[in-house]
């Protein structure tokens, strides 16, 4: 969720199927997990979230890239652009946070103290999509 400040950009590319390709198999994932761990993951919000996102015209990434990499985003700082999408006008919030919590091995029930670093942002407003038209939506950077 957050890239460390001192991070050195890696090289190489393994490759995998991406979000929308994999979304189609997620219902099976939910069922398998719920059966194995007894965790109620089949929330009613799951389908609407995918359906709403599926009808969205994609926005375009900002032109700036991070530190000479091909990645179109900026660190969250007092002088950099917080949005990850361009041709955008609206409300935006970003937070770079550290925290703590507890992880659980759902097979054994063993819990472990863990430490987190989060960079989450929302962008809510008007954007010009890849179709060249204006749209209204909320996007998350997670």
């Amino acid at each position: 969720m957050r890239i460390p400040d001192q991070f050195v950009m890696p090289t190489g590319y393994v490759g995998h199927s991406h979000f929308w390709e994999r979304a189609m198999s997620r219902r099976q994932f939910i069922g398998t997990t719920a059966a194995a761990g007894g965790v109620a993951l089949s929330s009613p919000l799951w389908a609407p979230l995918l359906a709403e996102a599926g009808g969205t015209v994609e926005p375009k990434p900002i032109p700036q890239t991070f530190d000479g990499s091909p990645f179109h985003f900026q660190f969250l700082t007092p002088t950099t652009e917080p949005s990850s999408i361009t041709d955008f006008r609206g409300v935006i919030g970003g937070a770079d946070l550290t925290g703590e919590g507890w992880g659980t091995d759902t097979a054994t029930g063993e819990t472990t103290h863990m430490f987190t670093a989060v960079d989450n942002r929302f962008m809510k407003g008007t954007y010009v999509g890849v179709d060249g038209r204006r749209h209204e939506a909320t996007f998350g950077f997670v």
Partner: protein, 148 residues
Amino acid sequence: MFSDESRHNQIHDFNLDIRPFPSGLFWTNRVPNSGVHAEEDEGEAGVSWHVKNLALFDYFSVANALVDGNSIDAMVSYRLRWAGDGTPLTVDDGKNFHFEGRRTTATIAWSAHEAGFSFRSDPSPSTQHTNFAQVGEERNGVFYSADD
């Protein structure tokens, strides 16, 4: 997510994808409009963002995520809240974007689930630290200098 407080040993990395890889939308996806709230009627003029069951990936480390390495399906839910106080912040790079809002502090309560593992954050403010947080209005691209 790290096993050590110095955050060197990363064991989980929950992100949206980069599509198309590597130069497309970076860790960004549509979320419900209803998740963002101004909380001016709750005694403090804060902003909150609530997302439930967001489907994403656990890449296990940032290094692996940035080479589009192997990942597994995961879900996160969170409630992020930006405090109502802070200092005014205006940023304009002269060509790409203009931001006007405030620099403030934020807190988060979040959880994650994937096959064989779940996580729940400690929501106590005493265990959280804001490195940087901002909330406000931005315009960029074709809206950077547009009047409408």
